[in-house]
Amino acid sequence: MSEIIKTRNLMKIYGEQKSVDHLNITVNQGEIYGFLGRNGAGKTTTIRMLLGLIKPTFGQVEIFGENLFNNQKSILRRIGSIVEVPGFYENLTARENLLINAKILGVHKKNTIEEALEIVDLHNETKKLVGKYSLGMKQRLGIARALLHNPELLILDEPTNGLDPIGIKEIRSLILSLAKDRNITIFVSSHILSEIEQLATHMGIIHEGRLLEEIAFDKLRERNRNYLEFQVSDDNKAIMLLESQFGISDYEVHAEGNIRVYSHLGKQGRLNKAFVENGIEVLKINISEEGLEDYFTKLVGGGAIG
């Protein structure tokens, strides 16, 4: 599988602040790579560097196996992108806005603009000025514009930002179908965990400019194990019981008497019975899977995302 994006020790420093700090990411062909991070983590700065809009303070960007800054023009011709909210000339229609890109790109094929508008379901809105479009329509038009020249790579910066739930669902379906039907490699950033979880095949987590982890979702699901969670009146006594009577060593103790047991799945009845027989009050039993949120919280050292 060939590498589409590869960054090496990418850095961007503003004053004394490292917006992006020694970032090494690899995106392979055919992946939907979710670039996850809190607001201000360095996602947009990274995307701007991937598109040559800002120059790195240090480090290299390779796209399609070539150095971006030596071959910027030929590389960018193979990429479609949206950086933050897509901007349009609001006094023009959707068709006229796309005509600007088509003209500059030298796309002369008939119906290219109509086809792009059809993909994003805006083909019936061609007489309306873009200034009167909703944010969701503008996002879809941004994707149509990015697709105009049949790119091999799509770079989308928070494409669902500010959309209502229906708009989010539409954009998500669109991205998934583009990856599946057109075999486009997609690099999509978001600060919403569930969004990346539902969309991406691979994920990179950025926090305070640094890449904390890069992982395929398949592997992440293998790693995120199921567990039994007991809330008990006396966690010390409960742990001793688990160790001595059941030989359990794979457990974690959390706040308020919560104990997570990663083995003996399906044997919660026996464990519960043992607790009660030994005078330990069981307040709650859960059978849970460690979700992406738990994983992320552990990784960034606590605190909610967003």
Partner: protein
């Protein structure tokens, strides 16, 4: 080839633009005020004076702020409407981007200059001023054109201010200061050293004899070239946020 395509897209961007009509209204101010005021106060004034006064006011008073607003609109709207990131990632070379906009600015300034000339002619004929002949038409057209070209050449520092500040206000202040110096230095014998005032004098053949004409031409060329080089260097290196 890309420059031609870019110029086409620049023209397309002006479709339904209110700025286009506003700029025409701005260019019509000098002919309207000069012809009407002359008709009311001194109806016996020769036609030549009408052309001279309109060109004087256009180049020295109205030109800098009016063309400054047009310049800011052309360059700043890409930042305001957040379209610059799209254009530069299509990709368009940054120099071509600047050149296409500068070319459109030239066409726009010349169009406004021609509108001012034509309106002077039309209103002067309507109010029946004397002294119009072919040689006056040719000469006045030439003078208006020179004024327009010189103001266009001197727009490079204004473009630089727009690109650096990304806002209308600094450009308006800058052009108002230029106009103020033009007005305050109107009677000064050293005015030929101030590029924008020199442009007015060159267009109207009224350069004072204090300095050789080469000094004025040099002041204009140095200002324009410095502005042009600075804006290209700046824009080629600027981070786009």
């Amino acid at each position: 080839m890309q420059l031609a395509s870019l110029l086409f897209t620049e023209l397309l961007k002006l479709k339904r633009s209110s700025m286009f009509l506003l700029s025409i209204a701005g260019a019509a101010v000098a002919p309207l005020v000069v012809v009407v005021a002359t008709y009311v106060n001194e109806p016996s004034t020769p036609f030549k004076e009408l052309f001279y006064n309109v060109n004087l006011y256009t180049v020295l008073i109205i030109g800098a702020p009016l063309y400054g607003v047009v310049t800011t609109y052309l360059f700043n709207r890409e930042y305001v409407e957040n379209t610059i990131k799209n254009i530069l990632t299509i990709p368009v070379s940054r120099v071509s981007f600047i050149m296409s906009k500068t070319l459109l600015l030239f066409m726009w300034i010349m169009m406004l200059t021609m509108i001012a000339w034509f309106l002077t002619l039309f209103l002067g004929l309507l109010t029946q001023f004397d002294g119009l002949d072919i040689s006056l038409l040719v000469e006045s057209f030439k003078e208006f054109s020179i004024g327009g070209v010189l103001l266009f050449i001197l727009s490079t520092p204004i473009i630089l201010v727009t690109l650096v500040m990304k806002n209308y206000v600094p450009t308006i202040i800058f052009t108002v200061v230029i106009t103020l110096i033009n007005v305050m230095g109107g009677s000064s014998e050293h005015r030929a050293l101030f590029p924008w005032a020199a442009a007015g004098d060159i267009a109207n053949h009224t350069l004072p004899s204090t300095y050789p004409p080469e000094y004025s031409y040099t002041a204009i060329i140095v200002t324009a070239l410095t502005g042009f080089i600075a804006l290209i260097v700046y824009f080629k290196k600027a981070d786009i946020h």
